[in-house]
């Protein structure tokens, strides 16, 4: 066994790093390959003006995109904050979800007709209430 070139001994104290090390080497190798075969030709194409860089070089609806990010972040954050005021009742989820669903629907809605607005408002009130009632009340799932 001692002469076995494949033999390996793993120290238990550092065994948590054994597999990650292997993964790191594989990642580095693959990355180098991709750099050479894909990224370099791609960047050359960008330079020649044939291709555009992802994200930076693209057009986007910035208001809705960043609005979505901001709204989701605020939603997650406030849910915990409000939820902490009413420990383990799920009110944090309930109330903040109503505000979130309303705000996000309004942000995505293109034509603000009366009918559309009514649907949006009703949805923002009914849907979170229903979810809260069924999950937190009937199934006693802990919600923020």
């Amino acid at each position: 066994m001692a002469s076995d070139p494949l033999s390996v001994s793993i120290d238990f104290e550092t065994s948590h790093l054994f597999f990650p090390h292997i993964v790191h080497w594989v990642l580095a190798g693959l990355f180098a390959l991709i750099l050479v075969t894909k990224v370099v030709p791609f960047l050359a194409a960008v330079k020649r003006g044939e291709r555009t860089l992802p994200i930076i070089g693209e057009s986007r609806d910035s208001a809705r995109f960043f609005g979505t990010l901001a709204l989701i972040s605020a939603y997650f954050y406030l849910m915990a904050v409000v939820g902490d005021l009413f420990p383990y009742t799920g009110y944090g989820f309930l109330f903040v979800s109503m505000a979130f669903v309303l705000a996000m629907s309004l942000m995505y809605l293109h034509e603000w007709t009366k009918k559309a607005l009514i649907i949006v408002v009703i949805n923002a009130i009914v849907a979170p209430t229903l979810a809260w009632f069924v999950l937190a009340k009937l199934f006693t799932i802990t919600l923020p």
């Binding site: 009413f86 420990p87 383990y88 009742t89 505000a99 006693t140 802990t142």
Partner: protein
Amino acid sequence: MLTKKTLMSVSVAGLMTGLALSSSVAMAQDAQLRGNVRVVIGSTSTGGDTYQNASIVVDRLAEHLGLNMKVDAVGASSAFRTLDRDSRGNTLMIFHDQSYLGYLYGVEGYDDVFENYTVGPTIAINPGNAYLVPMDSPYQTLDDVVEAVGNGETVRVAIQPGGVSEIGYSALKNAIAIEYPGQEENLVAVNTGSQSDKNQQLFDGQADIINGSVQANEQYTRLPEDDQKAMRFIWLTARQDTIEQAPEEGLGQTSREQLLEYVEPNVTVSMGDDENFTFDKEFFFLYNKDMDQGIVDQIDEALAEIYDEGEIQQAQLDAFFIPDFKPSAEASEYLQEKMSRYEEIISNLD
């Protein structure tokens, strides 16, 4: 466009202020549990003994106090963290000896519970912590194992490292060190995970002894001898006194009488100074350090009344747990003493 924005911000701001106002009412606290109470446990399993124990106690406590209480199996690291954040008494925790054994073994994520938390009342014991060998093992008793290791034979024990599963192994190692100094190196731990992993190590012949439990392994001990899965108990770590309180019919087809064969004084593991090692896996409450003493007392009193009624004991016994109520002050002192005994064993081996 302006109106759209206004409507949106009003919808958000309106709700926020409304919430902030109404919440000040709920903030007022005195020294009683109120509102909804969440009991987090140190295990992620809803099929395990911690959950089962917690739900037996919490159901009755909720009824007794007229509160909504819910057990959530969030796991040790998350449970401690959740408890850290809430000193109002809306979050309580139930866990077992792992809470301080993890600390003694230096497992990441465990701190000294006696320093960082208030230790609450104990509620029950799981008497089932056991060590098993294959049915056809050459080792008939634990003494055979000690002797074999003392004579230089390597014996491998499959355990889950860093806690309840390891403590018996450490004690055994310590006992060998006392009787056969220097030979304890021949007892080696096979670090593995769940019960199924430990069993698998035995089936694969990668371990000679496994840590297990009466509940999980009893049926394996009743398999016919030619079944490769068949096992035998060789040691239960519980005190004799603990097993004596178990129901007479025992568990499955193994009676209390039979179980008593595997505890002291029939099976002994020396700790030196004429003392024998025993380990009962005890379940107890843990509270946030800053939680009001009023709530500590309230839970103590409520549990005392519940245990006086006597119904809870039957429920615990039916589930093969030994009722074990000690109010928080007593429990804290008792567990601290228990910890210092095990600390000695673990530090002896370093």
